[in-house]
């Protein structure tokens, strides 16, 4: 059944105090309604009001945190004004135009102030649906009322019609193949096939128990079947748990990766390792500077006396050179040797040393004393020459050492500056937090890989059980054919078993067909909505539900799309799912154009209302999104009666909605 929203009335709901009414004129060609509001003014809560009224759930809030504190559904200003023992009701009423006449859906939640002055809220909201039955309006309240709404659009499908723009842009950025597969399962109602198979399986078990065991082997075969079936049930439940855990881990890893991406973790990690390497270099350089300075200072201590006494040393050297020139420095004969000859009184030639020879030798002995001195002088002369050479080398050597020290210091300064720069850059990020996320990413990768292996094992076990069950069922069939009694029960059992066989056999075929159909529809929608029509050749959804966007050059560019292209991919997918679901409900998108470049905004606003012709399209936009070009494009599809604006009070705590003329 097709439906459109003809009016919404909101009373004391979230920031909307009092009653706000929005009436929408339904027109086939001008299918657009616009609600303009600043960020935080209450656009999302308007969408929440719709989903809360229809399903008791706010689209921006998960069921888990629904009652975990935070702002209450009932308007807080109205709550503040309550006196003791007074109560108040938050209420959303939606009027629908359907193929069979008008519907009214009302949801209320009561809260109040107790006798002790404490605020309280009713645990559950009340739902009332008024709809035409054989030309008469029927009022429905109570538990079963929700089914009426689910017949219009099941709760499981609400996210494909009441869309958060931000989530839509992120859908293909963060979705895993499991999410895609699940979305297709939900929307195609394939879930119903699984449930039907499950329930038929239970009927089969009950029937088998009832069949009288008239053949000797039948009982044992049936016992075995039951045993294996129990194992299959347990294994399926374990698989479900592991898959759930894997799904959770996959969802978390996407968030972790997104965090790391937005916090430039690879850059931080590079900077951090550069910093560590710089710290090592700095330590080495400090050591080198210290060593060189030590070397230079030791050299200075060593050479300083020579530098200071340079003049005196030169003088001494000059004197010594003169002496050598004059021959005053006699040959180097050892005094001890002459003394020995004199004491022995005999020459080395064997002649006795007497007379003139002895006298000459005694004179010579005196000269030898001078010779000893001259030896010292000769050695000294060489040393002085070395000193001279050292003094000559001094300026060059000391400059060399100083240059080396300066060079090291220069390098040190550069590295210290770089480290300071890195520290400043890293300071903006919480490095410890990034590390923690990196560790979590690695851990999750390990867990996912482990669970994938575990699942493979379990699924292989499941397969083995399936084969065994098939064999046993064949055996059971043979045994049953021998049994002439309990024909009706056996007839039933055979019917159920055969139906189950068909359902199980067709499940996979159906799923593949649906995947192919979604893929086809996704391609058509994407081609219609995308601006760069020739840049992308196709989109594929493979049998593992991996979505690939193929560039004309053959690359998969799913991770390289712009925000606008992601939005179009998301819209194309949702639209494919909407079509395949067969439900015809309004499409409401909150903040559809945020973060989208001008060109895509222009294109989306030109194409989207046209693309959804015949479907009520409601856009909740910010003034930034609603620029001049967007306005010009949307005006073609907008009736002035369907244009509203949310206005905040001075304190930005309360909002009201009123018709807007666009100026």
């Amino acid at each position: 059944m097709k439906y459109a929203i003809s009016s919404i009335s909101i009373t004391n709901y979230r920031q909307y105090s009092g009653t706000q009414v929005l009436d929408f004129k339904i027109d086939k060609t001008k299918n657009l309604s616009l609600i303009l509001g600043k960020n935080g003014a209450g656009k999302s809560n308007l969408l929440n009001a719709i989903t809360w009224c229809l399903y008791g759930i706010e689209i921006h809030k998960s069921k888990d945190n629904y009652n975990s504190g935070g702002m209450p559904i009932i308007n807080t200003s109205a709550l503040k004004k309550l006196k003791i023992n007074q109560s108040i009701t938050a209420e959303v009423i939606i009027h629908l135009k359907t193929d069979i006449g008008p519907w009214t859906i009302k949801r209320t939640l009561e809260g109040g102030k107790s006798g002790l002055g404490e605020l309280y809220f009713n645990e559950t909201s009340e739902l009332t649906v008024i709809h035409p039955v054989y030309g008469q309006d029927k009022i429905n309240t109570g538990e079963e009322t929700q089914i009426l709404i689910n017949n219009l659009l099941p709760e499981a499908l609400k996210n494909f019609f009441f869309i958060d723009g931000e989530q839509l842009r992120e859908f293909f950025k963060v979705s895993t193949p499991d999410n895609i597969s699940k979305a297709i399962d939900i929307v195609s109602q394939l879930e119903l096939v699984y449930k039907a198979a499950d329930h038929l399986s239970k009927v089969e078990t009950n029937l088998r128990k009832s069949v009288k065991n008239t053949t000797p082997q039948l009982k044992s075969v049936q016992d075995n079947i039951e045993k294996i079936q129990n194992k299959v049930v347990d294994l399926k439940s374990t698989i479900k748990q592991v898959e759930k855990q894997k799904e959770k881990d996959q969802e978390e890893i996407i968030r972790v990766k997104e965090f790391l991406k937005t916090h430039n973790s690879s850059v931080i990690s590079t900077l951090e390792s550069e910093r560590q390497s710089l710290e090592i270099d700095i330590n080495k350089l400090n050591d080198q500077v210290w060593r060189k300075e030590y070397q230079r200072n030791s050299y200075l201590v060593e050479i300083a006396p020579f530098i200071y006494l340079k003049k005196e040393i030169e003088q001494t050297y000059k004197i010594m050179e003169e002496k050598v020139e004059k021959g005053e420095l006699p040959p180097r004969i050892k005094e001890t040797f002459i003394k020995e000859l004199l004491e022995k009184g005999r020459c080395i030639c064997g002649n006795e040393l007497v007379g003139e020879a002895k006298k000459i030798l005694e004179d010579y002995s005196k000269k030898v004393i001078l010779s000893e001195l001259s030896e010292i002088s000769i050695v000294g002369k060489t040393t002085i020459e070395e000193i001279f050479s050292s003094i000559k080398e001094f300026p060059e050597k000391i400059d060399g050492l100083n240059e080396e020290i300066e060079e090291f210091k220069g390098q040190l300064e550069k590295k210290e500056l770089r480290i300071e720069h890195i520290s400043n850059e890293i300071k903006e990020y919480n490095v410890a937090e990034i590390r923690r996320y990196e560790e979590r990413r690695d851990e999750l990768n390990r867990l996912i890989a482990k669970n994938e292996q575990v699942l493979l094992l379990y699924k292989s076990d499941l397969n083995t059980y399936d084969i065994k069950l098939k064999e046993l069922r064949g055996e059971e069939e043979r045994e049953l054919s021998k049994d002439k009694k309990n024909n009706t029960l056996k007839e039933k059992l055979t019917l159920v078993q055969s139906s189950l066989k068909v359902l199980v056999n067709t499940e996979k075929i159906i799923k593949t067909k649906i995947r192919k159909q979604v893929e086809k529809s996704l391609n058509e929608n994407f081609k219609t909505l995308i601006r760069k029509k020739t840049a992308f050749s196709s989109i594929s959804i493979d049998d593992k539900y991996d979505v690939k966007v193929h560039h004309i050059d053959g690359y998969n560019v799913i991770n390289d799309l712009s925000a606008g292209e992601y939005l179009i991919l998301g819209l194309s997918f949702m639209s494919a799912l909407m079509t395949i679901s067969g439900f015809q409900a309004p499409v409401i998108i909150d903040t559809p154009l945020g973060k989208i470049d001008d060109e895509h905004r222009e294109y989306i606003t030109t194409e989207l209302p046209k693309f959804l012709t015949g479907t009520q399209l409601m856009l909740l936009v910010t003034p930034t999104e609603y620029d001049k070009n967007v306005k010009a494009n949307l005006d073609r599809y907008l009736l002035k009666e369907n244009f509203y604006r949310i206005t905040e009070n001075k304190d930005q705590t309360e909002s009201t909605v009123g018709r807007y003329d666009g100026n």
């Binding site: 689910n150 109602q189 239970k202 009927v203 019917l495 068909v502 067969g582």
Partner: protein, 64 residues
């Protein structure tokens, strides 16, 4: 199932292609319709089992 939905056509076509027995087709169709009726409803297991037992009875009665 949803009247005229792509899914409805597709699933029934596939079952048709894979099964010649009208009783089996009938039971599957009834089961799927019932699952759709109780979709998103908290229905107790015994109630579901009774409903299925009734469906099987109805199909067999229809055969006779």
């Amino acid at each position: 199932m949803i009247e005229g939905s792509e899914f409805n056509k597709l699933i029934l076509e596939t079952i048709d292609e894979n099964c010649d027995d009208p009783d089996i087709k009938n039971l599957i169709q009834k089961s799927l319709q019932y699952e759709l009726d109780i979709w998103n409803r908290q229905v107790r297991s015994p109630e579901i089992e009774d409903e299925y037992a009734q469906m099987v009875d109805d199909v067999l009665k229809g055969r006779k």
